[in-house]
């Protein structure tokens, strides 16, 4: 049962091959037995899940079931869930129970989906290895001494370990695509503004975007159909109708122009990973697509620009965690200054504090122009690179990450080495473009991902390309050892 895709679950639930209660109960049991090892899920919402599954079964019986009725999912613990603790992976919010739902959660509720629990993540989504979570690291189901990637490592590991058929995730600099690649699942970061950020705890507002993770592109399309919406509560949400992302999955790839950026195949890319990605590109050629070498000349500037803009925004976004109204508060504050200092020193982890300090520094008087101002200029250049490229190509493809999953602690003392993990993913966030990761090989027993970057709001074409690839390859079907 745990190997069923979302599409298969929808079909089986509709045909009464099994009930949502059965599937939900089965996966809850599976989470209980397996997740002690992976630590993918912070909060299991058993009672709520079973109640929702029963309600879904009733609707299924009545025959008025919405699209994802009865499908169990895991939600990243960054999405606020009414009445269910939403920690964002931080001690700061360990006691925070939101009195409202994120729009994404609302959308899934309207769609009849069942929430199994809240998935682990890097604290405040800051990290590429899931090592910064207050709830401990998530282990990669493919190799438990390796990281699952981050920040959506819990979601990726949960899908990879077949604890859930799909999950929500968020991506600020690669936080969907990188863990998807490292855990061998399919993940999509939509165009900025496509998925509402209301109720999604902010890391860097101009970069954050929610998206789906699942085992197939077909499932990602089903999830995105539900997730994407215009939301008047989010001023950056784009007022644009949502297409049926499932409708074009089977379109032919004949004549598809695929841009292959030379900067994504340069120094730093693991040769085996490169080989896997090149092999995937050959599959596309075989399906009638055309490979065109392109240049994204400012790629190297994306990491430094990102590590000014994202911390700058974060430094302000995280100011609200002051111990005054909700969340963690230090014991016996002596005065206001003491309350602020100790609450934030004790409530935030090291990486979060580092980024708040970087961001605060970058915005300070006398440094603003040199850092934040300059980074915004670079951001425009990077965006322009893509605009130029998309005049010649329909999609851009390359590796998601430079190499497969690395061992715990191996980059812990070198933040910059960790930041370079996102070298191929960050620029799409800076440009606001959609990006995807699709399993395309196994290196040293661990999966690697093919990244597909689309033009603005061209998610349907990306999903089409990914789905067609998954029709002729089996990488996405591989499960970690002991999982199958």
């Amino acid at each position: 049962m745990h190997n069923l895709t979302i599409a298969e679950l929808v079909e089986g639930l509709k045909n009464k091959a099994f009930s949502s209660t059965e599937v939900t109960q089965y996966l809850l049991t599976r989470i209980k037995s397996l997740d002690t090892e992976f630590n993918a899920i912070i909060t299991v919402t058993e009672a709520e899940a079973l109640k929702a599954a029963q309600a879904a079964d009733q609707r299924l019986a009545q025959g008025d079931a919405p699209a994802l009725c009865g499908v169990p999912l895991v939600h990243k613990d960054i999405f606020c869930t009414h009445g269910v603790r939403t920690s964002c992976g931080s001690k700061m919010l360990d006691n925070f129970i939101p009195p409202y739902n994120a729009t994404v959660i609302e959308n899934f509720q309207h769609s009849g989906a069942v929430m199994l629990g809240k998935s682990n993540m890097d604290e405040f989504a800051m990290g590429s290895s899931n090592e910064t979570s207050f709830y401990g690291p998530v282990k990669n189901p493919w190799s438990t001494d390796c990281v699952p990637g981050g920040s959506s490592g819990g979601s990726a590991a949960a899908v990879a370990a077949r604890l859930a058929p799909g999950a929500t995730a968020t991506d600020t600099g690669g936080s969907i695509r990188q863990p998807a690649a490292l855990c061998g699942v399919t993940g999509l970061k939509p165009t900025y503004g496509r998925v509402s950020r209301w109720g999604m705890i902010a890391f860097a507002s101009s970069l954050d975007q929610g998206g789906p993770m699942a085992r197939t592109a077909e499932d990602c399309a089903l999830l995105l159909n539900c997730m994407a919406s215009y939301d008047s509560k989010d001023s950056t949400s784009v007022d644009r109708s949502t297409p049926d992302y499932s409708a074009h999955l089977n379109a032919s790839l004949k004549g598809l122009r695929i841009g292959v950026p030379k900067e994504y195949f340069s120094e730093g890319l693991d040769p085996d990973t490169e080989q896997a990605v090149r092999a995937a590109l050959t599959h596309y050629e075989n399906q009638g697509a055309q490979l065109i070498e392109i240049s994204l000349p400012n790629t190297a500037l994306s990491v430094p620009a990102y590590y000014v803009i994202a911390p700058a925004e974060a430094s302000a976004n995280l100011s609200r965690f002051d111990g005054v109204r909700y969340g963690y508060r230090c014991d016996n504050p002596q005065d206001l200054q003491d309350l602020y200092c100790r609450t934030r020193a004790e409530g935030f982890g090291e990486e979060v504090q580092r980024r708040i300090l970087i961001g605060t520094y970058c915005l300070s008087a006398g440094y603003y122009d040199a850092y934040y101002g300059k980074a915004q200029q670079v951001r425009q250049l990077i965006k322009q690179d893509f605009v130029n490229a998309f005049e010649k190509v329909d999609l851009i493809m390359g590796p998601t990450c430079p190499s497969p999953a690395f061992k715990f602690g191996s980059k812990g003392n070198d933040p910059v080495a960790m930041y370079l993990e996102d070298i191929y993913t960050i620029s799409t966030n800076l440009a606001g473009l959609p990006g995807m990761s699709v399993p395309c090989g196994v290196v040293e027993g661990k999966p690697v991902g093919l990244q597909i970057i689309g033009n603005y709001f061209d998610e349907a074409r990306m999903l089409n390309a990914a789905h067609q690839y998954q029709q002729v390859t089996d990488w996405h079907k591989l499960a970690p050892e002991g999982i199958q």
Binding site: T86, C88, G199, A204, S232, S235, T236, R320
Partner: protein, 485 residues
């Protein structure tokens, strides 16, 4: 040495929107603490701001009223600092690209002259909540009320164009008049709807270089503003004349003790780390939106004052007083329409009515004497039913809720005696009873006789218990006396 004072103002105007600038919570004043603060106002995680379009319109209307440039694109920024009544840890405001650019405000001074004050810009921002340190909080704790957090404000920043407290107060009053006339602010000073920060410096008369300025913050009445300016000007001059130097600092004025103290110096000032708010898109305005607002702009004080002079033949002085305040102007026009006597109505509205309203801290909108009631009273003065003196007594009766003018005149028997037969009898009686005065009058030099009339008038009015129509009495008296010559 003679010193010249240089004053610039920053004025915070609370916009009269029903809901907050970035949330749907109510902005009504006076609710129980924290009952008007929603998840957004509390800066709960994951919440996002959406701009209140009414607040944008109100800011544009202000810009149009002072003939300012309206920015087609304005940008909200985050001003970062920690304080318990600032839930997000930053205030959303505008810095580099404010919605209203340069403009001018014409100010009328008490001596009849007028002055033009330049506006540097006006920007939109959210108000903070309130920290409550005094009162009922035990264990030395402070209370926080976030009802006000997120209330829309425009901050109007003037150039340093004022030279004394009278000019500054006249400018502040003019702004009050403009924003209340526009209906974008309720103008309730006591509720903090308008608050003034005053930048003050002094320099030797005749020099052009600006002295070091101080900023006295959060003055919420014209009186406090005037007092605070006097105090600060005096302090700066004393300081310099004693060989000291003025430090750039923020000061706080205490209206109760009439003293001010330093709040923080320039060195202690925060680095606010402004940057564009990534949760909000730039505010882009279409020409159509601006033009629609322009064509629907309500009558502004200057235009209204000019119209009052033209339409009602009011003196510029009366027109200024009546035209400055929308509700006062409305009251006046309503009463005049019924009374048919603009001059007399203007006198009563600016005189008796204003005095009583001020004494009880009321606005014309909630005056116990309605415009119709005042008009009915004025009609009775104009048709000589009652004298002006009696009218004041009747006015008090209406104010006290005893009924309309006619009812009170009737009930109290205040009707003026205008029956000429009765008045002639009264005059005859007084003349007969005061033979010596009559003889004295007759023997007086003809051109000095007029002065003697007052004595007779007093006797007659006294005899009539004040009810005799004085104009008529004076005519009859003059007639009778001339017959005796």
């Amino acid at each position: 040495m003679n010193w010249e004072t240089v004053i610039g103002l920053e004025v915070h105007v609370q916009l009269a929107t029903k809901t907050k600038i970035f949330s749907g919570a109510s902005t009504a004043f006076g609710a129980a603490p924290n009952t008007q603060a929603c998840a957004i106002d509390l800066a709960m995680p994951g919440t996002l701001p959406v701009v209140n379009q009414q607040a944008i319109d109100y800011a544009i209307m202000f810009g149009l009223a002072i003939d300012a440039e309206i920015s087609k694109t304005s940008v909200f920024e985050r001003k970062n600092y920690f304080y318990p009544d600032l839930p997000k840890g930053y205030q959303t405001t505008q810095l580099e690209k404010p919605i209203v650019g340069r403009g001018t405000v014409a100010v009328q001074l008490a001596d009849g002259s007028s002055q033009s004050v330049r506006i540097h810009h006006a920007h939109l921002e959210e108000d903070a909540g309130k920290s409550l340190h005094e009162g009922n909080f035990r264990h030395g704790m402070s209370g926080i009320d976030l009802n006000r957090a997120g209330t829309p404000l425009i901050e109007i920043v003037s150039e340093p164009d004022m030279r004394n407290s009278q000019e500054a107060v006249a400018f502040a009053k003019k702004l009050h008049s403009i924003v209340t006339s526009l209906g974008i602010c309720d103008g309730e000073m006591s509720q903090g709807s308008m608050r003034f920060d005053v930048n003050i410096s002094v320099r030797p008369q005749g020099t052009t270089e600006l002295g070091t300025r101080t900023e006295t913050k959060n003055l919420n009445s014209f009186k406090f503003m005037e007092e605070a300016i006097h105090l600060e000007v005096e302090r700066q001059i004393d300081l310099i004349e004693d060989g000291g130097t003025v430090l750039q600092e923020t000061r706080l004025y205490n209206g109760e003790t009439r003293t001010a103290r330093s709040m923080r110096s320039k060195e202690e000032a925060n680095d606010y780390r402004y940057f564009p708010c990534p949760d909000l898109l730039p505010v882009v305005l279409s020409d159509q939106r601006i033009e629609t607002l322009r064509s629907n702009l309500p009558e502004l004080p200057d235009a209204r004052q000019a119209r009052f002079i033209e339409q009602y033949q009011l003196s510029p002085y009366d027109a200024n007083i009546l035209g400055a305040d929308t509700s006062m102007a409305g009251y006046f026009e309503q009463a005049t329409a019924k009374s048919g006597n603009a001059k007399l109505t203007a006198n009563w509205v600016t005189g008796e009515l204003s005095a009583r309203l001020n004494a009880d801290n009321l606005s014309p909108d909630n005056s116990p004497v309605s415009a119709e009631q005042l008009a009915a009273l004025i009609v009775r003065i104009a048709d000589s039913t009652i004298s002006g003196k009696m009218a004041k007594e009747v006015f008090e009766g209406i104010w006290a809720g005893e009924g309309d003018a006619d009812q009170i005149i009737e009930a109290r028997g205040l009707k003026q005696v205008s029956d000429s037969g009765a008045l002639e009898a009264m005059v005859d009686e007084v003349l007969a009873a005061n033979q010596s005065m009559v003889e004295d009058y007759i023997n007086t030099d003809p051109d000095k006789r007029k002065k003697k009339l007052g004595g007779f008038m007093g006797q007659i009015m006294k005899a009539s218990k004040g009810q005799a129509n004085p104009q008529q009495v004076s005519q009859i008296l003059a007639q009778k006396l001339s017959e005796m010559l």
